[in-house]
Amino acid sequence: MSKTDVSRRGLLKTGALAGSGLALPTIFTAQSAHAYTNEPTGSSVTLGFNVPQTGPYADEGADELRAYQLAIEHLNGGGDGGMLNTFSSKALQGNGILGKEVKYVTGDTQTKSDAARASAKSMIEKDGAVMITGGSSSGVAVAVQALCQEAGVIFMAGLTHSNDTTGKDKRANGFRHFFNSYMSGAALAPVLANAYGKDRKAYHLTADYNWGYTTEEAVRSSTEAMGWETVAAVKTPLTQTDFSSYIAPVLQSGADTLILNHYGGNMVNSLTNAVQFGLRDKQVNGKDFQIVVPLYSRLMAKGAGANVKGIFGSTNWHWSLQDEGSKAFVRSFGTKYGFPPSQAAHTCYVQTLLYADAVQRAGSFAPCAVAEALEGYEFDGLGNGKTLYRAEDHQCFKDVLVVKGKENPTSEFDLLEIVEVTPVEQVTYAPDHPQFSGGALGTCNNGA
């Protein structure tokens, strides 16, 4: 028979200590020997690419991943160098970042906030990623951005268009190159007024989630400022596939313009349904009925097929741009993969280069040093003309493209034509603009 000296009180104390230790997130404890989270100490540095590899945006995620792989190749001195040759900053030399070879790990966001956070957390904790980037959804971007802020790593957002990403949900460790809902509205409204007149009655169908709300608000306020009247705005469930019951009443409302604040599968289906109902063949209030899609994506336009012809929208970038940066990127991407890059691919490629350049200029991977290097940074040669990473909200300010579905496409990629390059001044807003109010950047976090 053995005797143990463990008392009940001692067991409880030990258990409580061990429990509280285990309960502390490893994110906040594991790197205590370093100056900041995941400080790279060897000859390489790891970046985390968090993109949708499954789910409805998997094709967009695949294009983002191609762009990231191309960026890594160029950063490490491979390929033709792409936009490194046209980038206004010459800090990057094609020898990695600060002389360290760039490696990467990938995560699958599944376009679900919880899955995206889990994959980002895994890349930070297990793979030692010093920066997280990617995504095709504002919900995901906001969730991962908050995680990166807590963890003390930089988040370079991928495709996220909601005002909130750099508005009420902005974070000091997060940066967005992609444009936003406000910019879409500000760029589109004058073009629409010019093409369709200032006396229009608009009917909005809006996806019932955060991005839909901010896009509707932005387009409404911009078009109403031009003289348009909004006769109705109807929320549609995100899971809706057949929009006929929402589209059929549009003509009865007296509206002569339908604005589809939808993205992805929602946009493909609502636009297809609207064209099926023959809305574009109708005359209302003595005018031809028109449809507008505020945010275009080439990959989504492909899904809608011929229905996009002649329909206005906005986009962050398009492969047909003729500036040297865009041409260099299209050449690199097209030669490697056999087709032109999407806007999602472009923003992800650029974000990787901008991060690497900021580290190089800062001389450190420390998030606060990188953030300081990015804040207020002006650059050119990356496809959108002169661009500013505004310090107040970490939003890039650059020209915005107004596009239209092409009437006579020459290939499956040639779906959109650029109608106007809206100058940056027209889409710039004050940091405290009402559409972006309610949040604070806070202070950057180095983690560790």
Partner: protein
């Protein structure tokens, strides 16, 4: 009044899809006693039969057009479909244009084969297992099937338009004395409704007026007794599974011009179709059809702006709300019979 007529029309075509899928589900449940959660995947495979045929018809060889350049500045490679070479450009284009209706002929044998293979290869092993096991295995199968489709066709929707002859919409309002443009309805949706009616009528006629159908109905009522009479009811039920798969597949084929098909479209319909089956009454074929149209119309009404303004969010819950009310007042559904799923 015009708004009400419009929403009834809308509900009828939406209800057509629900009714066709629910009819297949009920056929399988009524004959084999299996709760088939892979039925939505059959709808999706049917849609991809149309996509596949469309791709077959547009199989092309490449011709270099020296007068134009591609995005890299190289001479443009132009795809020329083989059907242009075989039938000439005009006839070739007409064949490609009619890909969706032609896909009906393509989909029928494919879907019957898929259904029979599914039943013989997997589902027959679960006949005597609890319904929970059947649901799990068929749900798993549905996920596998949609991932296979995604692997080959990608995640983005694929536009599969209706023939040019059916583009545009019919001014229903003007035809019945209302102002023009008040009640418009796309030609293809009218075709879809008529097609669904034809298929539903065909299935009922097959069961009602053929010897095969009579045996199947007898088997649905009392499988054991039919077996004791020396009739191989299992073989007939397998064929019925194939027919149910074909019904779902044809619903999918004809749905492709309404919404561009994607790998997830089956799941979008599956849950609603199960609600339709339960509301109609488990095992009741007329109940499934009736509930399909009923819930389709109700869903359309709930999507009206005037209704949403009064009860926000009603458009998202109406079907489930009605299901709860019907099941509380008529626990066996609208046309359910005593003894079905009550053991």
């Amino acid at each position: 009044m015009d708004a009400i007529i419009l929403q009834i029309l809308n509900g009828l075509d939406k209800g057509s899809a629900y009714a066709l899928i629910a009819l297949g589900l009920t056929l399988i449940f009524g004959t084999l006693g299996v709760v088939n959660f892979a039925h939505g995947a059959l709808f999706m495979i049917g849609a991809f039969c149309a996509v596949t045929l469309s791709r077959i018809l547009t199989l092309s060889h490449t011709v270099i057009d020296e007068t134009k350049t591609d995005f890299l500045g190289n001479p443009l490679k132009v795809d020329v479909p083989y059907v242009h070479d075989i039938f000439g450009i005009a006839a070739g284009n007409a064949i490609i244009d009619w890909a969706v209706p032609l896909a009906i002929l393509f989909a029928i044998p494919v879907m019957i084969l898929v259904g029979v293979v599914m039943e013989r290869g997997l589902i027959k092993h679960f006949y005597k297992r609890p319904h929970a096991d059947q649901i799990l295995v068929t749900f798993g199968l549905a996920i596998v099937l949609q991932e296979v489709i995604k692997y080959f066709y990608g995640a983005n929707p694929i536009p599969t338009p209706a023939p040019a002859a059916f583009k545009g919409s019919f001014d229903f309002g003007a035809a019945i004395g209302f102002d023009p443009n008040l009640i418009i309805y796309p030609y293809w949706r009218i075709i879809y409704f008529l097609f669904a009616t034809l298929i539903i009528g065909g299935v009922f006629a097959f069961l009602q007026f053929t010897t095969f159908g009579m045996v199947v109905r007898a088997g649905m009522a009392d499988r054991e007794t039919v077996g004791l009479l020396g009739i191989n009811i299992d073989k007939r039920f397998t064929i019925m599974f194939g027919i149910a798969a074909a019904v779902a597949g044809l619903a999918g084929v004809m749905y492709t011009p309404i919404n561009s098909p994607n790998y997830h479209m089956g799941m979008d319909f599956l849950v609603l179709s199960f609600v339709v089956v339960v509301v109609g009454g488990m095992g009741s074929l007329p109940g499934a059809v009736l509930a399909g149209f009923l819930l389709g119309v109700l869903e359309s009404f709930a999507s009206m702006r005037e209704v949403i303004d009064i009860i926000p969010g009603i458009n998202q819950i109406i079907i489930y709300l009605v299901a709860i009310i019907i099941l509380l007042t008529r626990p066996r559904g609208l046309m359910g019979r005593k003894g079905v799923m009550e053991d």
